[in-house]
């Protein structure tokens, strides 16, 4: 069975630009969460979506937004990129949005902002 897939694998942008990252969850999973992992740190929670509705938001500025589509795939958008946005962006999927459901992570998209 296919796991969580993310695209693109790598991305290089310049400050001020906008970026869209994509995620396809495991088949049958209806919840998608996004995390930012800066080098040398653990992942930080950005958003969680379940059944196309936002269920949770982390401490990130409004430049970060996301949405979930009817097929449960998701996009993360970041506007007005800053150097500090350089990180590995991870998508995780789970069956539902409860604490009992384990989250399975994709390989991530590595974003470099120059």
């Amino acid at each position: 069975d296919a796991g969580v897939t993310q695209s693109p694998t790598h991305l290089i942008k310049t400050r001020g630009q906008q970026v869209t990252l994509r995620c396809s969850p495991i088949s049958g999973h209806k919840s998608v969460s996004w995390y930012q992992q800066v080098l040398g740190q653990g992942p930080q929670f950005i958003f969680q979506y379940y059944e196309k509705e936002e269920r949770g938001r982390g401490n990130f500025p409004d430049r970060f937004s996301a949405r979930q589509f009817p097929n449960y795939s998701s996009e993360l958008n970041v506007n007005a990129l800053l150097l500090g946005d350089s990180a590995l962006y991870l998508c995780a999927s789970s069956t539902r949005a409860s604490g009992t459901d384990t989250q399975y992570f994709g390989p991530g998209t590595r974003l470099t902002v120059l």
Partner: protein, 114 residues
């Protein structure tokens, strides 16, 4: 103060030794505890999942949770060079605003030398 504290290491052990990893946390609402393994430039892979206090064993891996001390541990027996990776502890609560929001430690880098 971070909600989850984890020594970043690196922790170097000889092949065959027991690897001992731990995390402390401050939020008493955490009920679900996980350990993820992350190879360089890859997404985290779920190793162990524990609810509330107690021990759980899976092959060479043993996870322990002591909620009274707000302390969790992961032990890896008979360590192999392929166990060399970063190990992340993660936890979440039971309230609806914390479901699916994993709080990660910084990760401990483990190196198993042949």
């Amino acid at each position: 103060q971070k909600e989850v504290e984890q020594d970043p290491g690196p922790l170097s052990v000889p092949e065959g030794a027991i690897v001992s990893l731990n995390c402390t946390y401050s939020n008493s609402a955490f009920q679900y505890f996980m350990w993820y393994r992350q190879y360089s430039r890859k997404g985290p892979e779920l190793l162990m999942y524990t609810y509330s206090s107690g021990n759980k064993e899976d092959g060479r891996f043993t996870a322990q949770v002591d909620k009274s001390s707000k302390y969790i541990s992961l032990f890896i027996r008979d360590s192999q060079p392929s166990d060399s990776a970063t190990y992340l502890c993660a936890m979440s609560g039971t309230t609806t605003d914390s479901w699916g929001k994993l709080q990660f430690g910084a990760g401990t880098q483990v190196v198993v030398t042949p």
